[in-house]
């Protein structure tokens, strides 16, 4: 083992890339996944046949996306990525597939969290004359906040491992570094350091998520 040969500039660049990918993909995953999760929940509870049908369709799409391995998704989405970002490679080229893979996953977690909200509280809100939008904003989301944060934590941690595959489109980042040097070139030292960085990153994220869950739990 010789750790002296490690190019720390490259390691730092990879860390920055990973954080950048994580940051943006998390942001867009929330922007898309949260409303999608709410819609899934509301439609699944609806009495309307039309909405129930839309729920089935959405649910099917979500399941399909979740079944496709990320590595295949990233390649299959190259045209889509190019249309959205203008490029299909690099950090920018990784974000759309990351979001498309993670948003349905997060949406399911949101749906599950919302289901946990006490039915009686929702009923009481309707009895007080709340609209569905008010119930979502003032009841469902605040009441399920700890669950939503826990779901978010799981999603971000999943995203960390997804970013490792971004090397397929030259996305860079720690995971890519570990695969390129460690797996393809047997440069064990770089792989160990890169993986260690990811372990630390995941630990920090999980701890942060757990702290927030505790902070917002009132039960």
């Amino acid at each position: 083992m010789d750790f002296s040969a490690i190019d720390w500039t490259e390691m730092w660049q990879a860390t920055k890339d990973t954080l950048l990918m994580l940051g943006f993909s998390t942001l867009f995953t929330i922007i898309i996944g949260l409303p999608l999760g709410v819609v899934l929940y509301i439609f699944s509870k609806s009495n309307s046949i039309v909405l129930k049908f839309i729920y089935r369709v959405l649910s099917l799409i979500v399941n399909i996306i979740r079944s496709v391995p990320f590595i295949i998704l990233i390649v299959a989405l190259i045209p889509v990525t190019r249309a959205i970002m203008g490029v299909s490679t690099g950090v920018e080229g990784t974000i759309p597939p990351l979001v498309i893979a993670a948003a349905p996953f997060f949406a399911r977690l949101v749906e599950t969290s919302l289901r946990e909200v006490d039915r009686g509280v929702i009923e009481a809100s309707y009895a007080m004359g709340a609209t569905t939008m008010q119930v979502v904003r003032k009841v469902l989301l605040p009441e399920s906040l700890p669950g939503l944060i826990a779901g978010m934590t799981i999603t971000v941690v999943t995203l960390v491992s997804y970013t490792a595959m971004s090397g397929m489109v030259g996305g860079g980042g720690l995971g890519d570094l570990a695969i390129r040097y460690g797996y393809y070139r047997y440069e064990l030292e770089i792989m160990i350091i890169a993986v260690a960085c990811m372990v630390v990153l995941v630990q920090i994220l999980q701890m942060l998520g757990d702290r927030l869950v505790i902070y917002f739990s009132r039960k």
Binding site: D118, G120, V121, E123, A124, M128, G129, P142, E143, R218
Partner: protein, 338 residues
């Protein structure tokens, strides 16, 4: 205040249909406390949920405060629901909001101004006696305190009607009584119409003016509490009355008879001021009949004192007949037992 006309509620589709309510009619007067009592599964929960249309009846009309709710659109219904407060067995408070925010919740739904919310919430917190707990979360409160928050929340929009869905069923007897007296206090202070459902006779006896007995999706008996409880007609009502021993559990006639040579056994029931009069002793002094009280109960229903007792009369046939007649003349309710 509340008028239900031919309410039918059917659950399920086609083959698996169950009828929760069938052609039920009910009228609740303004300012009264009306109780509905029934076994679980009799349809009480469905009934109270039909009043603010949390459950939409399959058929029939629901009128509250002169408005036919069943005819309203979504927006108007949401408006009107604000005027119907509701409290629940399991309180149904927002666990993520403080006591203050829970009470403020219905006001925020209507976009009430901040200072107005503060004024109202402070007033309500005071009314239910939770001043020291306003920054606490529901998980930090006892059951009774949670229900007080529920009551304050239900009153935030100055409702015309308060619906209580088994509001004391999850509470211990002492807490139940404190919540009941709070409800009674609110009823008197704001002349608020209260409709409650319960399976506990005690609740009806303590605070209700009138009672309806629900069985198999229909109201089988309705009237002033004193009347329904002292002279129950329907078997289900009798069952409730006897089980909770309000007005006295009837002893078996054979037990009363055993070895005794009484001329007549009579059941005497009286209400109100008569409870304090010495009618019985006056009458027997005059007719020369002996009596023994075999069984009896003197208590109050809400604020009305009542008495109900089984009395054995001994004397000549004629004297006993005269006694019974005179008791009736004094407006006591006398029932001769065979």
């Amino acid at each position: 205040m509340i008028q239900l006309t031919n309410i039918t509620k059917v659950y399920g589709k086609k083959k698996k249909q169950t009828t929760a309510l069938s052609e039920l009619n009910l009228h609740v007067k303004k300012g009264e406390i009306f109780g509905v009592i029934g076994h679980s599964g009799a349809g009480k929960s469905t009934l109270i949920r039909c009043i603010n249309l949390l459950e939409r009846p399959t058929d029939g009309e629901v009128w509250v405060g002169g408005v036919e709710l069943t005819q309203l659109g979504k927006k108007e219904l949401q408006q009107h629901r604000g005027k119907i407060g509701m409290i629940f067995q399991h309180f149904n408070l927002l666990s993520s909001a403080t006591v203050y925010d829970n009470i403020a919740f219905p006001l925020t739904l209507r976009g009430t101004a901040k200072h107005e919310i503060k004024r109202k919430v402070d007033e309500l917190i005071h009314l239910v006696g939770l001043q020291e707990h306003q920054s606490k979360y529901p998980a930090q409160l006892s059951g009774g305190q949670k229900q007080r928050v529920g009551i304050a929340r239900a009153l935030a929009n100055d409702p015309d009607v308060l619906l209580c869905d088994e509001a004391t069923s999850a509470l211990d007897p002492q807490t139940t009584d404190s919540i009941l007296s709070l409800l009674l206090d609110i009823n008197k202070r704001f002349n608020l119409t209260i409709m409650l459902i319960t399976h506990e006779m005690h609740v009806i006896q303590s605070i209700c003016d009138r009672v309806g007995v629900i069985h198999d999706g229909g109201i089988v008996e309705v009237g002033p509490v004193t009347e329904v409880f002292l002279k129950p007609k329907h078997p289900i009502t009798k069952e409730f009355v006897n089980r909770d021993s309000i007005g006295g559990d009837d002893m078996k006639l054979s037990e009363l008879r055993s070895g005794q040579q009484w001329t007549r056994l009579v059941k005497i029931t009286y209400l109100g001021a008569k409870t304090y009069e010495s009618t019985l002793s006056q009458v027997v002094r005059e007719t020369g009949v002996d009596f023994a009280i075999l069984q009896g109960e003197i208590s109050t229903i809400k604020d009305t004192p009542y008495g109900k007792m089984t009395v054995a009369l001994k004397g000549t046939d004629e004297a006993v007949q005269r006694t019974i007649l005179m008791l009736k003349e004094h407006d006591l309710d006398v029932e001769v037992m065979e």
